[in-house]
Amino acid sequence: DVKVTQSSRYLVKRTGEKVFLECVQDMDHENMFWYRQDPGLGLRLIYFSYDVKMKEKGDIPEGYSVSREKKERFSLILESASTNQTSMYLCASNLGGNTQYFGPGTRLTVL
């Protein structure tokens, strides 16, 4: 079974803090994705990566950056957290154009 894990289920940070969200997949997938989920808006793509050290902006990259130094790990970074970044963050991975597998999500609250 594919397994996608995220470093935290719940996270509380203060405005201005630097926040790291980690995602690890164990199936040697090429592609990894970061989404945020907000009520009534579905999932919106922040960034994705199709290879180590490669990244592409999604629909809402502002305020975020990413890092993919190893194939299995994709990190989302909030350089200076703001209250409007309070959300559920979901990581996913897939191989080529096949189905995406999701992690359990990280619910981030920025105070």
Partner: protein
């Protein structure tokens, strides 16, 4: 960019009832998937269905790519079917675009 619209936004059923969820998309797509998000937030892929019809137990899905819509059918609904159902399309490349979801509540 491509627009993905799901209807209805909310649906309440009695256990045992049938339902149909709809997904409309505004442009041609390479792939389409249906996901179920359970009450704990976990997203599970239900169908990978760029065209045609597939069935898996009480669930089935049909995508008519030429008319840019997909339908998810749930028969004999159970309380465990509750959650949010998302349609996601792949317009090109490797990224996907999600609809806003349909929140299903099945009452015992």
């Amino acid at each position: 960019g491509i627009q993905v619209e799901q209807s209805p936004p909310d649906l309440i059923l009695q256990e045992g009832a049938n339902s149909t969820l709809r997904c409309n998309f505004s442009d041609s797509v390479n792939n389409l998937q249906w996901f179920h998000q359970n009450p704990w937030g976990q997203l599970i892929n239900l169908f990978y269905i760029p065209s045609g019809t597939k069935q898996n137990g009480r669930l089935s899905a049909t995508t008519v790519a030429t008319e840019r819509y997909s339908l998810l059918y749930i028969s004999s609904s159970q309380t465990t079917d509750s959650g949010v159902y998302f349609c996601a399309v792949e317009p090109g490349g490797n990224d996907m675009r999600f609809g806003a979801g349909t929140r299903l509540t099945v009452k015992p």
